[in-house]
Amino acid sequence: MDKFEKLTGIAAPMPLVNIDTDMIIPKQFLKTIKRSGLGVNLFDEMRYDDNGNEIPDFVLNKSQYRDAEILVAGENFGCGSSREHAPWALKDFGIKSVISTSFADIFYNNCFKNGILPIVLPKEAVDVLMKDAEKGSNARMTVDLENQTVTSSDGESFSFELDSFKKHCLMNGLDDIGLTMEKATAIDSFETQAAQARPWV
């Protein structure tokens, strides 16, 4: 997995609440057996019309946001289905961090498995960053994972909370499965003990 350390980039504003995973990547694109190539269909139904032409008003179709690497979004981002295709599509498009007041649980977890940093901040902070993002491509935000801060283009800085294990994995690009396999002895002994306590499982 790619390491995430510090990112300075264009932030696209999406002030909509409850952006669900069906919006992020509609189901017709889930019929892939790969993880890559979904970026072109990110936000497909909001981004293209019935004939597949770009809808000019959609934020990621605007020239100043086409290279966005950060999304600033309304509350409960990523609600709905558990499809990991949502972070895969965001990543494939080039989005490396999403900032909101809240995320749906499964989506939040899925981001970390793909080197994407979801950042939870209070509403006042997200409001400031949303306004900053609305300035367009000249307004570059900085996300600093080590120091757990987001800094607006004006230099206003906000601290965010993050689980220490998730931070460690993201900063070092660690593979969860490899880490867990180092604890195989613990799993073995749990399995033996559980098989005695609950042999019907």
Binding site: K34, N76, S81, S82, R83, E84, I187, F190, E191
Partner: protein, 467 residues
């Protein structure tokens, strides 16, 4: 010993390792797998030269994108991309030696219906699946939740999940339900009250007299939509109804093991003084038959209500409400019972079980549909067979419904069962998101009886007028 909730008890029984920072490895008892969220996980195993750690605890069934029309055993009758995913699951199940129900098997169906039906789901277990509606299995007092594909791979390889414990939320439904009010109305009403993010970070335990009075199938409907309220998992403490449902199922414990299991299952309840981080109480008698009007499952109103105006919402939701009204093509002040519909969909992991089909057939008996299209998609081949035996299939067919094969179908419209742009559907499924049932499609969520009533009148209808 300090008092514990049901969630605490199941959690504690499954921690295989706890790091100093509180990060746990949670052991997984059952891993359910389907064709859409698993190919990349199996591919990951292959690339790393890993095997499935516990194939006996891993159960696969294709459900999301399979056609629900006859002849689907032949891949030529599937779209090419669906056939590729189903073939990949066939191969992965065989290569890794996991339990498998192919489309040709009468036991095939929606993974969350097959698991309980076959006795894979038991009280006190941890159950995961690469699907957010895994919460369904919580009806048995199992800790069950959806995971992403990377986590699917993690569970395949290690039979554990890296987790931090969630918070405890109690949702109590007191007293009795009024006639015409069902499990679906309970679960939608809870989301209407808490909002779609109200349960984020929590595991919900549903309790109270109205929950106790529900059948196991009703309880599955309630837990199924915990995720729509933001909670990863919903739970209901097991009781005699649970044990009765489980007993004798193909993979349920037998003889001495049954007795041993029962002894433990009887300890699975929240202690009286257990700590709750959040409590929501709703009176059963206050719940009406409800429908959704918007594009979020929290947009719930009694069928007797009117379409709300965007301005009637709090600041942050005004824009979203206006967007919903525009998308749904509705006018504030319009009576919900005046909304005309084109299509009726009865099925899904929320409401595709035999009692759901009975409830709908009860309303439809001897009537004809007044909509363009209506379909019943049973949740499994066995539900379908039983409905045929009970004569329900004939009632549906005589009313004008299409009688389909088992699968997820129009709930998420990955297969050919889709709404056309602007088409309006009364659906027993779980999500009314924009485009969920097809681009531009408009979804109103409701109970099977309400969907049947809507099929007869051609508009959203208060089922109590037909009882």
């Amino acid at each position: 010993m300090s008092p514990k909730t049901l969630y605490d008890k199941i959690w504690d029984a499954h921690v295989a390792h706890e790091a100093d920072d509180g990060t746990c490895l949670l052991y997984i008892d059952r891993h359910l797998v389907h064709e859409v969220t698993s190919p990349q996980a199996f591919e990951g195993l292959r690339m790393a030269g890993r095997s499935v750690r516990a194939p006996d605890k891993t159960i696969a069934v294709p459900d999301h994108n399979v056609p629900t029309t006859p002849g689907r055993e032949d891949p030529k009758n599937m779209t090419e991309d669906s056939a590729i995913q189903v073939a990949a699951l066939d191969k992965n199940a065989k290569d890794f030696g996991i339990h498998y129900y192919p489309v040709s098997d009468v036991r095939q169906g929606i993974v969350h219906i097959v698991g309980p039906e076959q006795g894979w789901t038991l009280p006190g277990m941890t159950v995961v699946c690469g699907d957010s509606h895994t919460a369904t299995h919580g009806a048995f007092g199992a800790l069950a939740h959806g995971i992403g594909t990377s986590e699917v791979e993690h569970v395949l390889a290690t039979q554990t999940l890296i987790q931090r414990k969630g918070k405890n939320m109690k949702v109590e439904i007191t007293g009795k339900l009024s006639p015409g009010v069902t499990a679906k109305d309970i679960t939608l009403s809870v989301i209407g009250k808490t909002g779609t993010a109200g349960g984020t970070g929590y595991v919900i335990e549903y309790c109270g007299e109205a929950i106790r009075n529900l059948s196991m199938e009703g309880r599955m409907t309630v837990c199924n939509m915990a995720i729509e309220g933001g909670a990863r998992a919903g739970l209901i403490a097991p009781d005699e109804k649970t044990f009765e449902y489980v007993k004798g199922r193909p993979h349920a414990p037998k003889a001495a093991q049954w007795e041993a299991a029962l002894a433990w299952w009887n300890t699975l309840f929240s202690d009286e003084d257990a700590h709750w981080d959040k409590v929501v109480t709703i009176k059963g008698e206050d719940i009406a038959p409800v429908v959704t009007w918007g594009t979020s499952p929290e947009d719930v109103l009694p069928i007797t209500a009117e379409v709300p105006s965007a301005e009637s919402f709090d600041g942050g939701k005004v824009g979203a409400a206006q967007r919903s009204l525009d998308y749904m093509g509705l006018t504030p002040g319009q009576k919900l019972s005046d909304i005309e519909i084109d299509t009726v969909f009865i099925g899904s992991c929320t409401n595709g079980r035999i009692e759901d089909l009975r409830a709908a057939a009860e309303i439809l008996k001897g009537k004809k549909i007044a909509v363009k299209r209506a379909m019943v998609v049973p949740g499994s081949g066995l539900v379908r067979a039983q409905a045929e035996e009970e004569g329900l299939a004939d009632i549906f067919k005589e009313a004008g419904f299409e009688w389909r094969l088992a699968g997820c179908s129009m709930c998420l419209a990955m297969n050919p069962d889709q709404l056309a742009p602007g088409e309006r559907c009364a659906a027993t499924s779980n999500r009314n998101f924009e485009g969920r049932q097809g681009r531009g499609g408009r979804t109103h969520l409701m109970s099977p009886a309400m969907a049947a009533a809507a099929a007869i009148t051609g508009k959203l209808t208060d089922v109590r007028e037909m009882m």
